[in-house]
């Protein structure tokens, strides 16, 4: 076997070893369990699993409570976080706005209050909706 062919076959062997290792490692480190969990879930169940049940339930609660095409602000999620972006996606056609929003969705921030806003609906101590006091009816 000439040296060039030996180099190609050696590189290929190395490639295959690295390929298999980095393919198997994440599966062995927990991805397999995630796949097993996801495989038998409904579409809603999968969204909830990926988003986190607590946040997804709250987003659904907000959608049911305020209707559509309302302006809201989220408290408790960092604006650059993936959770915030997922919430904005699931809440559309309600539109996020920090200019005098009709609702404030409070997530994971027990006791949060804001002047001019009153309790609208509550899921639990840390997940609730405040509404602008001039805007009672939905």
């Amino acid at each position: 076997m000439n040296r060039r062919r030996l180099f190609i076959r050696g590189s290929l062997a190395l490639w295959v070893i690295v390929w298999v290792f980095f393919l198997v490692r994440p599966v062995a480190k927990g991805l397999l369990n995630e796949y097993k969990d996801l495989l038998f879930l409904s579409s809603e169940g999968k969204r909830s699993y990926m988003t986190g049940a607590s946040l997804y339930e709250f987003v659904q609660f907000c959608n049911r409570s305020v209707g559509v095409q309302k302006r809201y602000e989220i408290v408790g999620l960092d604006r650059s976080s993936l959770d915030y972006r997922r919430a904005v996606y699931y809440l559309y056609p309600n539109v996020v706005s920090d200019r005098d929003p009709e609702f404030i969705f409070v997530f994971g921030t027990p006791g949060f209050k804001k002047e001019g806003y009153a309790m609208f609906r509550s899921m639990d101590n840390g997940r609730y909706i405040l509404t602008r006091q001039t805007h009672r009816g939905v």
Binding site: R5, W15, L38, L82, R85, R86, Y89
Partner: protein, 459 residues
């Protein structure tokens, strides 16, 4: 069951449009039925998303019947040209091998490629849209377009910025919207099938291009190398625009190189159409247009004595078209008030490139992390570095110089963006460098194949 039949009708519609486009643009006998099929999904989806952009501009709502009815400007000429050019295809390169029996290596490569394709579909479909840009940018835009049955430019320009990066091109969100329109509902699981379909198209297309350079066994080897790169297969599943962009990017360069190898002028038309779709997928498409322009000009200068008058005119027209595309892609979003947060009038100053050269060590440090990081790239970049060292005499001579230059310009272009970025350099590098490398990795695989062929290396 109804959803499955609607999904199948969407696939047939997209592929039909793609085949119509290839019937119009792929006139050369150089291209076989396999070539046409490999690009039909990507061309079809690109053409439909362009059509949706035009429909929205004229106030025609996105409905299934409107999408089908307004496809006649592509379908009718496609059918006419298909009938006119019937029987003109060259023998299919998939069938042109001397032997039909597969060796052990070939069987292994086919199994590896098949596994990666199967796993890409599995990974894409088991999760809904969930990764950052896929949700924050593309899926959200697709949802907005579907619910409003148009592109509400007012919402995209809203200073409240419900959609980050409103200036990003719309091929991916409009492609997702087209599936929603056919299904009649939002399905953020099924829509992810777009990305593994691009992966299959890319893998098959790269195989067909590499097959023109090296024998079947080596072609399968290089295709396997591409399919097994973890970073490539990961982006075939996560809903980002980088893999579709890599597909159009590769098409634009491969067709340009095919033309330089002596095929008819329709390769230039195909390259330009791919450039257009690349610029419609990501803003980096503007840089690709610039690369194609530079490489074509370099080709014109180097080969001026060998080129016939008609070929010189074709290449000059291609350069002008690339320049116009570049200008349009730069000016049009700004006329709508959309400004890119990285490359804009404030950052794009010649002096900035010089004053920011102190960033170069940090950028090169990140690049070496990428080059020697097997977790994302296996050993592809190490092979490329080895190729540069071992084949240094060939890299910048003959036809290979145009492939080498295209990759080198891409690396230089992305480095230039990092030099001027107003965002934190470490953050920008860590969140985007590895994604940007995907864009030209198929070109790098083709470059390796050409180098091995020139050096007379085989398996």
């Amino acid at each position: 069951m109804r959803e499955v039949s609607l999904f199948c009708s969407w696939i047939l519609f997209i592929t039909g449009i793609g085949l119509s486009v290839t019937a119009i643009l792929m006139r050369s006998k150089e291209y076989s039925l396999s070539d046409r099929l490999s690009v039909s999904f990507g061309f079809g989806l690109g053409a439909v998303s362009l059509q949706m952009g035009i429909l929205s501009f004229f106030g025609v709502p996105f409905t299934r019947s409107n999408l089908i009815m307004w496809s006649w400007p592509v379908v009718v000429p496609g059918v006419i040209m298909c009938r006119a050019g019937k029987g003109s295809c060259r023998k299919d390169p998939l069938e042109s091998s001397g032997t039909t029996r597969f060796s052990f290596f070939e069987k292994f490569f086919i199994a590896g490629i098949g596994f990666e394709i199967f796993y890409a579909f599995f990974r894409a479909l088991i999760r809904p849209m969930e990764s950052y840009d896929s949700v924050a940018i593309y899926a959200l835009k697709a949802k907005i377009f579907f619910l409003s049955r148009s592109i509400p430019t007012g919402l995209l320009r809203d200073p409240l910025a419900i959609v980050p990066h409103a200036d990003y091109p719309l091929l991916v969100p409009l492609s997702e919207t087209s599936l929603y329109v056919f299904l009649g509902s939002l399905n953020d699981h099924l829509v992810k099938i777009i990305f593994p379909l691009f992966f299959v198209s890319l893998v098959v297309f790269v195989y067909l291009m590499v097959r023109r350079v090296v024998p079947r066994k080596e072609s399968l080897l290089f295709t396997f190398l591409l399919a097994s790169i973890p970073q490539v297969s990961a982006y075939a599943t996560n809903g980002y625009a980088d893999l579709p962009f890599a597909f159009y990017y590769s098409l634009a360069l491969f067709f340009l190189w095919r033309w330089m190898d002596g095929t008819r002028a329709d390769s230039l038309a195909l390259s330009f159409f791919s450039l257009l779709l690349a610029a419609w997928t990501k803003n980096e498409g503007q840089m690709l247009a610039l690369i194609a322009l530079f490489v074509s000009l370099w080709y014109l200068v180097r080969e001026r004595k060998a080129l016939r008058g008609r070929e010189t005119v074709s290449c000059a027209m291609y350069c002008v078209a690339a320049l116009l595309l570049l200008l349009f892609a730069f000016v049009f979003p700004r006329s709508l008030g959309l400004v890119n947060d990285t490359v804009n009038a404030a950052t794009l100053r010649p002096v900035a490139f010089v004053t920011q050269l102190t960033r170069l060590p940090d950028i090169l440090y990140e690049y070496q992390i990428q080059f020697f990081g097997p977790k994302k790239w296996n050993i592809i970049w190490i092979l490329c570095i080895t190729g540069i060292i071992a084949g240094r005499a060939r890299v910048f001579s003959g036809p290979l110089q145009y492939v080498s230059l295209s990759i080198l310009f891409a690396l230089a272009g992305y480095t230039a963006v990092y030099l001027i970025t107003p965002q934190g350099l470490s953050w920008h590098l860590s969140t985007s460098a590895s994604r940007l490398f995907i864009h030209f990795v198929p070109a790098a695989v083709y470059w390796l194949a050409c180098l091995c062929h020139d050096a007379g290396m085989d398996l």
